[in-house]
Symmetry: C2
Subunit: 200 residues, 2 copies
C-alpha cells in the first residue's frame, strides 16, 4: 500500500558499498551517496536509517558477497589449502576489475575522527572475528596434526591475516593480481604442501 518505491534497494546498496569501499566512511558524503544511488536524502534515510546504518548494511553486503570465499575456505580439509584459498581469495577480491581496489573493511575507516569512532570499532572487530575464525580452524588442524611443526594456531592465523591485510594496501596502491599472487606464493613457501600426514 502507498506510493511504490521508485528504486531498487539492493542496487542502491551495491552502489553505496562501492562508494564506501573506494572513499571510506568519512570520505563519502551524503551527496556522493545520493548522487551515486540516484535517490534523494529522505529516501535514503527512510530505507537505511542514517549514514552509519547505511554503511553497516553495505558492510554486511560486502561480507556476504565479496568475502564469501573466506568461510568457504575454512571448510577445506587441509590447513594449507585453507590458508592458500584465503590469501588468493583476498588477492582476487582486492584486485577485481569491477569494483574498487583494496578491502572495504580496511579502507572504510582505518584512521578517522571521533565522529567515525563507532564505525572504526566495528571494522576492527570485523577483522578480529575473521582472525579468530581462522585461528579456530587452525586449532582443529593442530589436533589433526595438519599444521607445520613449531607453529601455534593463533600465530599462523595472525600471519595469514597480516599478509592479506598487506595485500589490501598493495592493491590500494596499484598492485595487480599477478603481483599479489607472487606475494602469496612467497608467504606460503615455508608451509610444506604435504606438511604432515593428517590423523585418520
Amino acid at each position: 500500500m502507498g506510493r511504490p518505491r521508485e528504486f531498487d534497494v539492493d542496487e542502491a546498496l551495491e552502489t553505496a558499498m562501492e562508494l564506501f569501499w573506494r572513499k571510506g566512511y568519512e570520505g563519502t558524503s551524503l551527496t556522493d551517496l545520493t548522487d551515486g544511488m540516484g535517490i534523494t536524502k529522505p529516501s535514503l534515510y527512510g530505507v537505511f536509517g542514517n549514514k552509519e546504518g547505511l554503511f553497516l548494511k553495505a558492510l554486511e553486503r560486502y561480507q556476504r558477497t565479496k568475502m564469501y570465499f573466506f568461510h568457504e575456505a575454512l571448510k577445506e580439509p587441509r590447513a594449507r589449502i585453507v590458508a592458500e584459498k584465503i590469501l588468493r581469495g583476498f588477492a582476487d577480491s582486492q584486485t577485481a576489475e569491477t569494483g574498487p581496489s583494496g578491502c572495504m573493511g580496511i579502507n572504510g575507516a582505518l584512521a578517522c575522527s571521533e565522529a567515525a569512532a563507532e564505525i572504526q570499532k566495528c571494522l576492527v572487530e570485523n577483522r578480529h572475528r575473521g582472525e579468530r575464525d581462522l585461528a579456530e580452524r587452525f586449532a582443529r588442524a593442530a589436533e589433526e596434526g595438519d599444521l607445520p611443526e613449531g607453529h601455534e594456531p593463533d600465530d599462523l592465523a595472525r600471519y595469514i591475516m597480516t599478509v592479506s591485510q598487506g595485500t589490501a594496501i598493495q592493491a590500494a596502491s596499484g598492485a595487480n593480481r599477478a603481483e599479489l599472487y607472487r606475494v602469496v606464493d612467497m608467504a606460503l613457501q615455508f608451509w610444506p604442501a604435504e606438511s604432515v600426514v593428517p590423523a585418520q
Copy 2:
C-alpha cells in the same frame, strides 16, 4: 625583527604529526590541530602555509624521525638482515608506546574524498619509493649471490613491504609488538639465515 614567535615550531610539528598519524589527514580538523599544537589558525597558516602543507611537513618529519631505520637497514651487508631489520623496524615503530599505533603513511589517507586526492597520491608514491629502494638493494644482493634461489628482487621487495603494511593494519587493530615479531619470524622463515655464500 618583529614580534618573536611564542611557540616552538618543531614541537608544534611533532604534535601535528601525531594527530595526522592517529586520525588521518581528513579525520584531523584544523581545530584538532590548533588545540593540540596550542596555537591559533593565523599562526598555523603563517608558519606552515595550509593544512596540506602542514601534513607534508609532518610526513617529512615522520620519515626523518620514525622511518630512519629503513635507510639504515639498506646499508646492512646481507640481504636477509636488511629484510629482517626493515620488518622489525616497522613493527617497532607501529607499536611504540609513545605515539599512535600503525603507520602514518597508511593511516594518513588510504581511502578518502576527492579533496584529499593529492595527499593520497603523495602517500602512494611514498610507499612506492620505499619499495623501489628496497628492490634496488635486493638487485645488488642478487648480483652478489646474496638472495635465496628462485626469487626476483622486485618480488622479494614487494613481499617484505606487503608484510610491513600488514603489520601496520595489525598494529592499528590492537596487535602488540611481541605478536608482530612472531609474524616477522614466520614471514622470514623461508629465507635461510645463511642463504648463499656472498661473492667475494
